[in-house]
């Protein structure tokens, strides 16, 4: 009897212990029973890894049948009778493949991540809401013409997403929702607006005024002007100039001056994005180039584009092909969450974008009535009320976590900087209707028509490159460029108490940087300054990324008068580096050439190390292929050079600078061997010169390399062992990420790889505009967000090798070879 009682007690406890974690969530664990259930649990994702061969689906709201064929690359080809039907089905398809990503990215733009992820996301949400992103998206939707193409498409897309969600069975629930213990929320058209607002933040977050403030706060305004220059010291502009070659515009940097106390009060405390090794963030950016028929071997215009964005799984892009006979036949990539192909091609033309990086944001020092809880701000002698927006942050169960009051002047959101208040006007927050443009542009048939549509593009400024079958190639840096009063500069903080500081308008389209079918037969952009100031001094921005990639691609294209599709593809992963070409010589000369500056002042140990390092560096072919064993030495030397040169920019009490001038400015300084900037103030017993800094940097780089990676003959210096691409899952789950990928590329190469390797070519596309448009493309990921799917990450291997897939582009369903069809779906109008 006792034995039975004991057995019963043990059994009851065991049952309770097994059932409890299946009904009550314990910590981060998913509910155990539902998770392990072989039918409805996580294993069901395996059964849903591939779409059924044939499906018929009812969808309300459709006006006619929509046929979708999914090819063996996972790309859906949707054939619809109307555009609304097409976008409705697109919403459904993207929801099927990327449901969790849809919610995560739009919540990131809305500032409601805490409702999905909990309090850990609170600071990210606060930043988003204080930037005004959600406010701007909601304002835009409220003012949208409900009869417009864009509005109807966004609504149809939302209906498609919701149709999928409404039919979602437990077994179809994505893994991320199971891990979080959540279910997807229904979609609203405004979510597409959050998505674009977030993209605007990604592309136009940096304001040169912030960089200039950070520098002014330490070394004064005059030095800030030189270190955060309006014009790039190296000119290789997008808009062709009369000069055949790049132009150096090097000047002597003024010495560090007294700190600007006002700048010190209002400078942001946040460091700008930097890579791990402390070098300037030069990995974020994009490339595009086009070749006119006269320079293409086969006599057809060629276009290549690769936007560089954060590498994630699932990918930031979703590939699709949409056909509405007589209206639309477009293929390329969309942003999950928004209808419309953003980068792609149709039967007549192809287009792609790089970020212009124009200065589209301004800061205003406001005078408020109460420095703690302001309710009014001063404008032209009158107190005006601040618009207030109460922001509430909630957890996944709806409990209130925090509240904020976000204040707005007529310019935009107001934020506190120490004891001061600063407002920001930003074109990203202006009503812009990108959705309309990305839906109208694919219907155009010539470059002229495409450019005409893009006249209405607002933010952020983008270098839109287009090529058509008529042989036209053209590029225009489109978007609103604010017209500022006075000297027109936007890299300064202005007095907010007067309307005289406000923008007086925006540049007319005719003044945008532009080129069409130039005599040189080629166009290329890689985020460099769009126009040589000698040709047009108008202020478009400041602190431009150094033009290393532009220099490299232009050099390659100049040397190739019979460009092929294969060459276009190879150039996208070219391992050469204009940056290395520019800097290596300085390191070698400092060590090898005897000079008065360094005689008698060399440290014996450093000298020996630098000599050995220089010998190793001389062996380098200046390329960044995965097997290269010298590139790492150069990168370490460059990091040391930055660290030792810009000591004046390290705030008191900190170890790293808040801002690091670009490598173009560093090169400019290298041409001035006697500049006071070379003196490292941290060494009070010595006054360093350029060559001593170079020698010390080389020596220290070698020491670091030996300590971290061993002796050079070994494998430890292999580039693919020290720098890799790292594609993280959107939640950062290591098991769903692809890490330590060996790729060609390094900082500032055409396929850039820097820092943590988390940014890079998110899409690569080459298009030939011949009698039949042909395209090749890939991205580092897969079409499906289901980790059980073979299409979760199937493209990564090819992407690491620089391969591109031939993109299938059928005019009608029957054109798709049957052996390339993996699924057929028929959407019929339903109740």
């Amino acid at each position: 009897m006792r034995r039975r009682a004991l057995l019963g007690t043990v059994a009851a406890l065991a049952l309770a212990a097994l059932v409890a974690p299946s009904v009550i969530r314990i910590g981060q664990l998913p509910l155990v029973g539902p998770f392990l259930d072989p039918v409805q649990g996580v294993w069901a994702l395996a059964a849903g890894a591939e779409p059924p061969g044939r499906e018929r689906l009812d969808m309300s709201g459709l006006s006619g049948v929509v046929e979708v064929l999914v090819d063996d690359r996972g790309v859906p080809h949707a054939f619809a009778a109307t555009e609304e039907d097409a976008y409705r089905v697109m919403g459904w398809l993207v929801a099927r493949d990327r449901l969790f990503q849809l919610e995560l990215t739009t919540r990131a733009g809305q500032g409601t991540l805490t409702e999905l992820l909990g309090s850990a996301a609170l600071e990210a949400d606060r930043e988003t809401r204080h930037l005004g992103l959600a406010w701007s998206a909601e304002r835009e939707l409220a003012g949208w013409d409900t009869a417009s193409v864009g509005y109807r498409a966004v609504v149809a897309y939302a209906q498609g997403v919701n149709a999928y969600i409404d039919g979602l069975r437990t077994r179809d629930l994505p893994l991320e929702y199971r891990l979080l213990g959540r279910r997807p929320r229904r979609w609203h058209p405004v979510y597409s607006g959050y998505l674009f607002a977030r993209m605007g933040l990604t592309l136009a977050a940096n304001d040169p005024a912030e960089s200039r403030l950070a520098v002014s706060a330490l070394v004064g305004a005059e030095a800030a002007d030189a270190l955060v220059p309006v014009n790039s010291p190296i000119q290789e502009p997008i808009q062709p100039s009369s000069r055949e070659a790049p132009r150096d515009d090097f000047r002597r940097l003024p010495p560090p001056g007294a700190p600007d106390t006002v700048a010190a009060e209002v400078a942001s405390r946040e460091p700008r994005v930097e890579s791990d090794d402390g070098s300037h963030a030069e990995a974020l950016g994009s490339n595009n180039w086009a070749v006119a028929p006269g320079r293409a071997k086969d006599g057809h215009a060629l276009l290549a584009g690769d936007p560089h964005l954060e590498l994630t799984l699932p990918s930031i892009w979703y590939e699709a092909h949409v056909v509405v006979p007589g209206r639309l036949d477009v293929a390329g990539v969309s942003l999950p969450g928004s209808p419309g192909i953003v980068i792609g091609f149709n039967r007549d033309l192809a287009w792609t974008f790089t970020n212009t990086g124009g200065d589209v944001s301004d800061l205003y020092l406001e005078t408020v009535d109460d420095s703690e809880v302001p309710s009014r701000y001063l404008l032209d002698g009158e107190w005006r009320p601040l618009a207030l927006r109460l922001e509430e942050y909630r957890d996944p169960d709806g409990r209130l976590l925090a509240t904020d009051t976000v204040r707005f002047t007529h310019r935009g959101p107001l934020t506190r900087r120490g004891e001061r208040w600063v407002s920001r006007r930003w074109t990203v927050l202006e009503p812009s209707r990108e959705s309309d443009l990305f839906l109208r542009a694919p219907r155009t048939r010539t470059a002229e028509q495409w450019l005409d549509v893009m006249r209405d593009y607002v933010a952020p400024t983008q270098n839109g490159l287009v090529a058509d079958r008529l042989g036209t190639i053209a590029i225009r840096a489109s978007g609103w460029y604010p017209i500022r009063p006075g000297d027109g500069r936007g890299d300064v903080i202005r007095d907010g108490s007067t309307r005289g500081s406000d923008w007086t308008g925006v540049l007319p389209v005719e003044k945008y940087p532009f080129a069409k079918s130039p005599a040189q037969g080629r166009l290329a952009s890689a985020n460099q300054q769009p126009v040589d100031p000698l040709d047009n001094p108008a202020y478009l921005g400041a602190d431009w990324p150094p033009p290393w990639r532009a220099l490299r691609i232009n050099a390659l294209l100049r040397a190739d008068s019979a460009v092929t599709v294969g060459a276009m593809r190879r150039y996208q992963t070219d391992p050469g580096s204009a940056r290395a070409d520019a800097f290596v010589g300085f390191f070698l000369e400092a060590v090898e050439v005897p000079n008065r500056e360094t005689e008698g002042r060399k440290d014996g140990k450093t000298e020996t190390g630098a000599v050995r390092a220089a010998a190793l560096l001389r062996e380098w072919d200046r390329k960044y292929d995965p097997e290269n064993r010298r590139a790492i030495l150069f990168e370490l030397a460059m990091a040391e050079l930055d660290r030792r040169t810009w000591d004046e920019l390290i705030p008191p009490g900190k170890e790293r600078p808040r801002y690091v001038p670009s490598s173009a400015t560093l090169l400019e300084l290298l041409h001035d061997s006697t500049s006071i900037w070379w003196d490292d103030r941290r060494t009070s017993d010595a006054v360093e010169t350029r060559d001593l800094i170079l020698i010390a940097s080389l020596g220290a780089a070698l020491d670091t390399a030996l300590a971290r990676y061993g002796d050079p003959p070994g494998d430890g210096w292999t580039w693919s062992r020290v720098r890799t691409a790292n594609i993280h899952h959107v939640l950062g789950l290591p098991g769903l990420s692809r890490l330590r990928l060996a790729v060609t590329g390094g900082p500032s190469t055409l396929s850039p790889l820097g820092g943590r390797g988390t940014f890079g070519a998110s899409w690569r596309m080459v298009v030939e505009l011949g009698p039949e448009v042909r395209a090749w493309a890939t991205y580092p990921g897969g079409q499906s967000g289901n980790p059980a799917s073979p299409r979760y990450d199937d493209r990564i291997r090819g992407w690491t090798r620089g391969n591109l897939d031939r993109v299938l582009f059928p005019r009608i369903p029957a054109d798709l070879p049957p052996d390339r069809v993996r699924a057929r779906m028929t959407f019929v109008p339903g109740a």
Binding site: M1, R4, A5, L7, G8, V10, A11, A12, A14, L15, L18, V19, S22, V32, G33, P34, L36, D37, P38, V39, Q40, G41, V42, W43, A44, L45, A46, A47, G48, A49, E50, L175, L179, L733, P734, G735, L736, P787, A788, S789, P790
Partner: protein, 101 residues
């Protein structure tokens, strides 16, 4: 067990195990547990999902930070333990009830 899980989900395992233990058949809890484990192992072998099961299991195991083999064994083990505990509890209660009677 398999049918119950198909129809009602994971909680059908302890429910069916309890009914089974209370039935005139009166199988031992270990037998009930074995049946449940086998049922869940069988259900994992869904022909549609089988080609992709290894890929999924590897990734899920990595996410959870446990070995793949542990994750896979956990499925039938969990079912077996659920079934055993329910059946054993009912068996113990039945024994107590008969003695009182």
């Amino acid at each position: 067990m398999a049918g119950g899980t198909l129809v009602g989900g994971w909680w059908m395992v302890p429910a069916i195990a309890a009914l089974w233990a209370a039935s005139p058949v009166r199988s031992r809890p270990a037998v009930v547990a074995g049946a449940a484990g086998l049922a869940w192992a069988f259900l994992l072998m869904n022909p549609r999902g089988l080609p992709h099961l290894g890929r999924l299991a590897g990734r899920v195991a990595a996410v959870l930070g446990i070995p793949l083999s542990v994750l896979v064994l956990l499925v039938p083990l969990y079912a077996a333990l659920l079934a055993w505990s329910a059946a054993a509890l009912v068996t113990a209660m039945q024994g107590t009830t008969r003695r009182r009677a």
